[in-house]
Symmetry: D2
Subunit: 347 residues, 4 copies
Amino acid sequence: MSKIKVGIVGASGYTGEELVRLLARHPRVELTHASSRSLARTPLVKAMPQYREIIPADLVFTGADPAELAKENVDIWFLALPHGVAATFARAFVEADRRVIDLSADFRLTSTALYKEYYGEEHPAPDLLAAAPYVLPELMANDDWKKARLIACPGCYPTSIQVPLIPLLRAGLIKPAPGSIVINSYSGVSGAGKKVDAMYLFCEREGSIKGYGMPRHRHLSEIEENLSLAAGSPVVVQFNPHLAPMKRGIATTITVPAKGVAIDQVYAAWQKAYAGKPFIGILPTGQYPDTAHIAWTNRVDISAVADPRTGNLVLTSVIDNLIKGAGGQGVQIMNLLCGFTETEGLV
Amino acid sequence: MSKIKVGIVGASGYTGEELVRLLARHPRVELTHASSRSLARTPLVKAMPQYREIIPADLVFTGADPAELAKENVDIWFLALPHGVAATFARAFVEADRRVIDLSADFRLTSTALYKEYYGEEHPAPDLLAAAPYVLPELMANDDWKKARLIACPGCYPTSIQVPLIPLLRAGLIKPAPGSIVINSYSGVSGAGKKVDAMYLFCEREGSIKGYGMPRHRHLSEIEENLSLAAGSPVVVQFNPHLAPMKRGIATTITVPAKGVAIDQVYAAWQKAYAGKPFIGILPTGQYPDTAHIAWTNRVDISAVADPRTGNLVLTSVIDNLIKGAGGQGVQIMNLLCGFTETEGLV
Amino acid sequence: MSKIKVGIVGASGYTGEELVRLLARHPRVELTHASSRSLARTPLVKAMPQYREIIPADLVFTGADPAELAKENVDIWFLALPHGVAATFARAFVEADRRVIDLSADFRLTSTALYKEYYGEEHPAPDLLAAAPYVLPELMANDDWKKARLIACPGCYPTSIQVPLIPLLRAGLIKPAPGSIVINSYSGVSGAGKKVDAMYLFCEREGSIKGYGMPRHRHLSEIEENLSLAAGSPVVVQFNPHLAPMKRGIATTITVPAKGVAIDQVYAAWQKAYAGKPFIGILPTGQYPDTAHIAWTNRVDISAVADPRTGNLVLTSVIDNLIKGAGGQGVQIMNLLCGFTETEGLV
Amino acid sequence: MSKIKVGIVGASGYTGEELVRLLARHPRVELTHASSRSLARTPLVKAMPQYREIIPADLVFTGADPAELAKENVDIWFLALPHGVAATFARAFVEADRRVIDLSADFRLTSTALYKEYYGEEHPAPDLLAAAPYVLPELMANDDWKKARLIACPGCYPTSIQVPLIPLLRAGLIKPAPGSIVINSYSGVSGAGKKVDAMYLFCEREGSIKGYGMPRHRHLSEIEENLSLAAGSPVVVQFNPHLAPMKRGIATTITVPAKGVAIDQVYAAWQKAYAGKPFIGILPTGQYPDTAHIAWTNRVDISAVADPRTGNLVLTSVIDNLIKGAGGQGVQIMNLLCGFTETEGLV
């Protein structure tokens, strides 16, 4: 069984580390390149002692020059980079005829205007956008996306939100008025990346839950664009993100007005959308997804409860923000792209 | 300065322990009695080594016979008991002309029908209800409640919810349609009490956020009854409680439709309602309350943000569930009742 | 590639759960049986939702009758049971000509007198003892043990202690006077098993480090017996176990008088003993093993520092108590026994 | 009751914050000054929202110029500064006839040679040393130290170590050979100060225990100098410090050869040394101090067990590193110095 060659740009953050772990253990790939501006020429095992015996002993962080890396013999590049920076690498790799799975926000939106509004800068590569599908694998209508060179991997919050909501929107079960969908998400601290800032010190986050970035967190643009596409008309939501005192995991709770919708219709829509999808766990009504139950997995667990008093549905979902919310979803995309088993290297 | 004599019934749970800590250190009271069915005749210091030097060395858990306790020379009794049980003690103490601050749910509702609906039993003492005011001190219209023998202390979730919402309802700023107020609350594990159940083991709760008890958690009855009284018309809300991996604290995030309401009006209503209230912290819009900042205090921190895109307000609040959500609020009530400084023994 | 059939007796505790996870994912085995007295007839996926997609959907907890289970078509049984109970199953399985990997203490000691002294009961199966080797795989002198039907898997603390110490004793580098080796170990809370006891509640363990079971924790018998065998003369140690506020992991720090021993000699002895051993990580002097770096792995990381001022060596080691300290070590033994790759299913 | 005026230099770190909290609530003092180079001119309440209602609203961080501060009308200055820097302020304040309680290491050692050896620099103020007593209040032979202008407050690890050991050394109960006392200490993360370094991020410390700084942590000098003074001859110990996944607390476990010493003699020595000392908790043998039981207090809990097999004593102690290990001890010293009740403001 021959292996494909993969590389990671930006391998020293938490998302990069998770990709190293997943790709180094993946039976169908060879991790041949990992870049880090700050750690160039350092052996990976030194920076990630926790993955020592799975990382190839001779793997050393390369520098991060797009033109240089584009010359390397790599089949698929994963980009674990800040927005803006990612596009530069994406362009170089696409021009060199490599495939790219981008975990940044650069190609998640179809609208460059929205990008500018939420990220405060002109879109760095508008010409590449049209050919860069946004791939949340369980929600793709067909396989056309597999022809693309450049693929945008969804964000962590948006993954936890789209999985429960989109089948209901597509089925026309819910037709929410603007602002009537209320989404509360609670993220483990690794969601902020390996940012060396007083705010993320152990002593500041232990015992702490707090909101942030309301009412216009950047992920809102990605959430609303995709919900709107699913609904066939603009969807405007309230998105309330928070930090929670744990390392991994996102717990999302969504309240949706849905008068007259029976709980069975919700489950039927989910069962239909997710039949045969190995990573989607549909819990019975009255059982609640638990971040501890999906930590270290690529799963999304979802559940729903209907409240006849209010006419609302309450949907709950959990993911591991570093796996289904980042590196794991990237690997899942690669598996599908390459014709590997979807779960290969992911359980 | 003479001291009043106080006692606690049900002193061995987490709420009871917190009351022991607060009352034993309080400069104006003498903690003379503490009961525990399971620990009767054990010295308190043995069960609560962490409070060793503040607990009177000779204080021993008494048994829990209402008639016996009612004979004791105690000025104010605190009840830290399950609902149903609390009423029995309340009756005995009131009949013996003692004052009672009840931290259970027994006298929080005015409607016995609602009690039966949410607690599954007939109300244990309907005749005492009318004379038992529900006292969230910062929200009392006047001082009439101070004449009562029996006072109901609000629940933890309801406290975190009423403080930000009630001034807005009273001012008529918000007039929410049924089901349109969405409340997400995340509670530290001590909120479940000292329940010895596999669900509350360290290894089960570490790294875990999960919902529970939706859509009709028992506290919903208390929340809606009081919001309705403030609004002058029925208020129906969506209440989504969750467990979070911390010991103390509740973080509540409330989304309220409020088209046309300016953020300044919210702050003006709060400033007016809470002027001179020592335990209410009003954070500027864009700053978010943090459970770690109010742990071990009797504070409620609140903040608000307006979202012009949705026409919603997002209100956030935090409390320490064992203090402002239980024992501390009880002590605050006692301070006001006895004419002590409101903050005495609480900072 | 045909698969062997494996079963677990006592599959509902933390060790049992870990075995379920490891064996269900293992490419060379089929997990066909899992017993639990309390959960008999419950589907495993219901009790362990976190392992839902790796557990065979039709696997249901069996009861725990030794004679019944012995009739089942199982190649290797893993026992995750309390001491005393395990021996009964071991006997039934051995008599039915099955192989048994016992994770309890029943066959760890060679001396029945020691067993009685530390476990307070007569040894439950003295006749089986001689044929039941104690297998810490990295420390076995040869492969004779692979012929045994019944194998004793070392305890968690003893594993973290023997790996750093035994090569030094065998090489004669250290010849400690009685009581001069001081061992401090700090265990994650899962080390206590899934015991539903107030002591292990989240609110009791969060923020808590405390000693327990000194000076004669049960594992001391196993530690001293094996150190003595390695030294060729009785070794008496001070063993100080503690609980620490984390879910997984043991951190052990050992101080050994070793006047005249150079740090290079320590590392040479370790390098020689552990050459080619995939699970042993030898960190350079001055780098310290970290429980977070080996969580979820079968690794032991060790390091040493020499103190010329005192003439002591300080050895540090870390393991995941549920993996290298229990289930993972059992699987490693199985891998070796069956001629699989040693690391199969373990990274 | 008139109040004394106190100030803090270096008020923005964790020790500084703790001093702010303790002094702002202290009934006998007025906190009039708090300096912070990085936060000069910022209101304290902004930097420490968690202490909002106890901090005087108009208190603003001053700059940190020794000469300027020395002119201020302050009775006692607390120094929460790095070593080397503290001495400069100490000198300025002493020359201006102020009293100084220094929480840094600058005046903890009597030997300037030892200071240079452990801190890598010449002692910054050797002329002040002789007049600067080292004050662990419970261990002072008499009250002479109260005449000093400048007082050195012990370090966190040393406090947890000296309290259990010194009475035994003074009583001559133990006469340890060099290197035979083995001390393992586990510190909460706040022990590192508010250092913004990747090592102290939540995601790095959660689930992590690891050693560091062996075999010559800087506190070793302070520990050995004081144990030697107590023993009347040089004491050389093995000191193994570690980080543990909690915010506050140090758990120390000490193994001491003590052949022939009965456990009763240990307790008798402790009872004698600590009779009437409000902050020392002596737990019966077989009960173990717990960091969670002393968090947020100025207590030291100690216990001992004798092991007849080894002839060793095992002593365990716990403190809150930010209180008895830093700010609380400073306040206790101030209370004694000023003739206040020893526990004032500390429980």
